[in-house]
Subunit: 142 residues, 2 copies
DNA sequence: ATTGACCTTAGAGTCAACTCTAAGCTTATA
DNA sequence: TATAAGCTTAGAGTTGACTCTAAGGTCAAT
């Protein structure tokens, strides 16, 4: 049985984050001491590590919530449900990659066009390009 | 002279966003009607379009703020200042790209490993991989 | 017995960039 | 003249994932 700071050390989460995850139903301590201290057993630890792993991959807390409900009763959930969540995340990642590549491209073009030297910016080609506004849109949402 | 909704139409920003940008010092109306209505002249419009272009490229409002201070007095700023901002943004974008590529890779591996079928998730290889926790970390910050 | 490290809670604060609301003027059109 | 569309402001709400604070209780070691 681990105390919260021990679980924190083990998972690399902070105690604050663990409590935060508990509030959002991702993690819980199956026991409490008389004084109210959280105590985590083996199953709790595995669940916390599952959450950490999923988080590291980039799943949102909402995604992880879904994955956890599958996890607690695998027999009543299908592989398809799991791949759906994963595919959806991949779609998001791909969309973001597309956006970032476009930003990268534009920024590289801007940098190549400018001398970058100590001369004053009166004829800076980056500034001119921003004035001209003929740069393609790279950003969709925040 | 354009009213706020006309500037909105012209730039593709909303009137709300224009006021928000004003509050943050990015845009302003050089005139007001007696009733307090904002009126934008040619220079205001060019500035608003500059902001929009920079925003589309992916610069933060903070970045844009810096670019605008260079813009209003180009002679006392160097090309290097401009490229520094641009390079810094590119560095950010590259870091994020790296992170996302790693996420993409992991997600693709997971998807390839799982049948994705209607069978129950008892032996789902995605779930197993998440349990095992041997997936490399892809995420650094939110 | 006292220190100091650790634990508890509810709730507030942070970040970025909006987005919206309410209450009340103003202006253009029918 | 009445109605609707558009403008004003201050300020609150949104999103996601934390992050921190205050005020206090607990525990191990000296």
């Amino acid at each position: 049985m681990l105390k919260i700071s021990e679980l924190a050390a083990k998972t690399g989460l902070t105690a604050h984050t663990i409590r935060f995850y508990e509030k959002h139903g991702l993690i819980s301590a199956s026991e409490r001491s008389e004084a109210g201290y959280r105590y985590y057993n083996e199953a709790d630890i595995r669940r916390a590590e599952f959450v950490k792993t999923a988080r590291n991959i980039g799943f949102s807390l909402e995604d992880i919530s879904q994955l956890l409900s599958i996890r607690v009763d695998k027999t009543s959930h299908s592989c398809q449900e799991v791949t759906d969540i994963t595919q959806h995340k991949l779609d998001e990642v791909n969309a973001k990659l597309e956006e970032l590549r476009s930003m990268q491209n534009t920024l590289q073009i801007l940098l190549k066009s400018c001398c970058g030297g100590p001369e004053n910016a009166t004829h800076c080609s980056i500034m001119e390009a921003l004035e001209a506004g003929d740069l393609k849109k790279t950003r969709s949402a925040a």
